[in-house]
């Protein structure tokens, strides 16, 4: 149907394929940190590729399992994560206490130990808790924070503006915003709001744009990249094939604890413009998303049992994957060839 289109300009670094579609200002993160630059360019360039957000391991009594969390973090770094971010919704962020979130945030920074950047997801139901978590992230030496538009209240564009102004003003760290209209009753960051925030806030360096919609993604990337060419346009759930051609430089990962190899291959194919291969890998990745989005992240934790990396139950109201559900997941992973192509155990 289509001819394969090759795309040039790559820098190979430590086994990870980095592409520079945005021009000379984007720099692979390890090179940037070696150079010791602390300007905004370096801040944004840290966040690209398929970044991993670890699940939160729990003991059978639903208490935090620190030892297993350390193994999960180490697993992600060893299997090629270009950055770590915790606790996303997949890490059951909203079912943890603020004290628990601080405890594991500290553990994440300590275990990763500068091997890759660590960002802390600070979104909480109460904005005052978000502020507290953001200041804490700075204190413990995190490399940035990620924050969604406020939950529940369906804030106006002005309220969203005020929220990010306050958050970015409270810390010196790079701030990544998070746009998720389908989970938040249509609340979203428009292109115009993005422009205002970028013009005002030097540490507002990127967005996780999770509308999964061509027009919405392009509206934001068009506005953002015109003002700040190194702005990190990221998406969720490894939707790289449709976003990389629109200026996307990476994503967070849903299934990375199951298939780190597939994540790296998909990113490489998209950034190299190998579209036929990218389609094949994206379709496979999306089948995994459909498997795990049902009762996310319960099914994902169930899948980790199959992969030899058990992380315990999921906190209510989310269910824990039953043995029947696990058997179904095993069959699907087998069908997709994941059991043969991805690492088993830690």
């Amino acid at each position: 149907m289509h001819a394969t289109q090759a795309f040039p300009i790559r820098v190979v670094d430590a086994g990870v394929l980095w592409l520079n579609p945005l021009g000379p200002s984007s720099v692979p993160p390890t090179l940037a940190s070696q150079a010791g630059h602390q300007d905004r360019t370096t801040m944004a360039a840290k966040f690209r590729g398929v970044m991993q957000s670890p699940v939160t391991p729990l003991k059978e009594d639903f208490s935090l399992d620190l030892a297993t969390f350390e193994r999960v973090l180490d697993f992600h770094v060893r299997t090629g994560a270009p950055a770590i971010s915790w606790p996303h919704h997949k890490g059951e962020s909203l079912n943890l206490t603020i004290a628990e979130r601080k405890l594991f945030a500290e553990a994440a920074v300590k275990v990763v130990a500068g091997r890759v950047p660590v960002t802390i997801h600070v979104s909480a139901l109460a904005v005052e808790d978000t502020m507290e978590l953001a200041r804490h992230a700075q204190t413990i030496g995190a490399d940035g924070i990620l924050a969604i538009t406020p939950y529940f209240w369906t804030p106006s564009l002005e309220a969203i503006h005020a929220y990010f102004v306050r958050l970015c003003g409270a810390i010196d760290l790079p701030v990544l915003s998070y746009n998720s209209p389908s989970y938040l009753a249509g609340v979203e960051i428009t292109g115009e709001l993005m422009s205002r925030l970028i013009q005002r806030l030097p540490n507002f360096v990127g967005v996780k744009e999770a509308s999964f919609n061509s027009e919405k993604f392009l509206e934001i990337s068009r506005a953002a990249l015109a003002l700040r060419p190194d702005f990190a346009m990221l998406t969720g759930v490894e939707f790289l094939l449709p976003s990389v051609p629109l200026g996307g430089v990476g994503s967070y990962s849903a299934a990375g604890s199951i298939c780190p190899n597939l994540c790296a291959q998909l990113y490489a194919a998209c950034t190299a413009g190998e579209w036929r291969r990218a389609r094949e890998l994206q379709f496979k990745m999306t089948r995994l998303w459909h498997l795990f989005r049902d009762q996310y992240p319960s099914s994902l934790k169930g899948g980790m049992v199959i992969m030899g990396r058990p992380v315990g139950p999921t906190r209510p109201p989310l269910p824990t994957a039953t043995p029947e559900r696990q058997a179904y997941i095993r069959a699907q992973l087998e069908d997709l060839g994941i059991l043969d192509s991805e690492p088993h155990g830690w």
Partner: protein, 304 residues
């Protein structure tokens, strides 16, 4: 089943005279314009052509006129959507008899149909013809009613002529799921982009596009379509951004804005029919200012 691959499909407006009747003289000129300016096919009357404001008789007449005028130059895809299933199926049948190359239909108007109702509706329209049948997914226009990959699979099972989906949802999850599932059971199944947001759709596997903006900027739309056809998605991004800016300046005002922009480009097709209102003076001024701020329009044809 013959493989009809529509490519770049222009979706013309319907020109009206001062008395609100279809102006067939202007329509002839308009069809010639589309044929000379990059269309691989025409689809009409789409919503951009105010299909919902035309009588059944007018729609047949319009399709027949277009098929005749475009003969030997462009295939015509007939848009047959309606609220009632039998009405849509009857127009599909008529369109085939007139010589349309394919038919396209979206979800039934008004009834907020559940999945079983959608399946029956589309089944009856598709079964009324032998020519290729495309389903149009436009949840934003259809009060949130969506086509699912599951529905598409059932239609593939029931209809040998179900050729593909024209997607205006722009939803990555839907498009990827659809192509993953549908091409496994029908390898020739087609995803067509229902808007000029072609880059992401193309990367996912779309092979054609429905474009109303081609009436304003046919060269820009053709360039984007060709870049996507050649899978030059990185190179396509600047053009995609220009078209997104054009789309954003017109989208909210619908066919009225489209017609006002066409007049601005020297191709007057009159005003929309009621209940749509023509743009008032200040809206026209704002639109002209928005269009003047788009450098890409400088390279587009003026007049017919």
């Amino acid at each position: 089943m013959q493989a009809f691959r529509p490519g770049l499909v222009h979706t013309p407006v319907t020109p009206f005279g001062r008395d609100n009747s279809i102006d067939f003289d202007v329509l002839a000129t308009l069809i010639d314009f589309h044929a000379r300016n990059g269309a691989d096919a025409l689809a009409l009357p789409m919503h951009a052509g105010e299909s919902v404001s035309l009588s059944e008789e007018e729609k047949r007449e319009l399709i027949a006129f277009a098929v005749e005028r475009a003969r030997g130059r462009l295939p015509v895809i007939a848009h047959v959507s309606n609220a009632g299933t039998a009405l849509a199926a009857a127009l599909a049948e008529a369109a085939q008899a007139i010589g349309a190359a394919a038919v396209v239909a979206t979800t039934p108007y008004y009834w907020t149909p559940p999945p079983a109702m959608l399946l029956k509706h589309f089944h009856q329209i598709g079964a009324a013809v032998e020519i290729p049948f495309f389903v149009h997914n436009a949840p934003e226009e259809m009060a949130g009613t969506k086509i699912t990959a599951e529905l598409a699979l059932k239609l593939i099972d029931q209809l040998p002529n179900f050729a593909g989906i024209v997607d205006a949802s722009l939803d990555w999850q839907f498009m990827i799921e659809l192509m993953t599932d549908a091409t496994r059971v029908r390898p020739a199944f087609q995803l067509l982009s229902g808007t000029e947001h072609m880059v992401s759709a193309g990367a996912i596997g779309a092979t054609g596009t429905f474009s109303s903006l081609a009436a304003i900027a046919p060269r820009l739309v053709r360039r984007l379509h060709d870049l996507c056809r050649d899978e030059k998605y990185f190179e396509a991004r600047p053009t995609q951004e220009e078209i997104a800016a054009l789309r954003q300046s017109i989208k909210a005002s619908g066919p009225a804005g489209l017609k006002a922009a066409m007049r601005h480009m020297g191709r007057d097709c009159g005003e929309p029919r009621p209940p749509l209102l023509a743009l008032d003076a200040s809206a026209q001024q704002a639109l002209r200012a928005a269009l003047a701020a788009l450098p890409a329009l400088g390279g587009e044809p003026r007049g017919w």
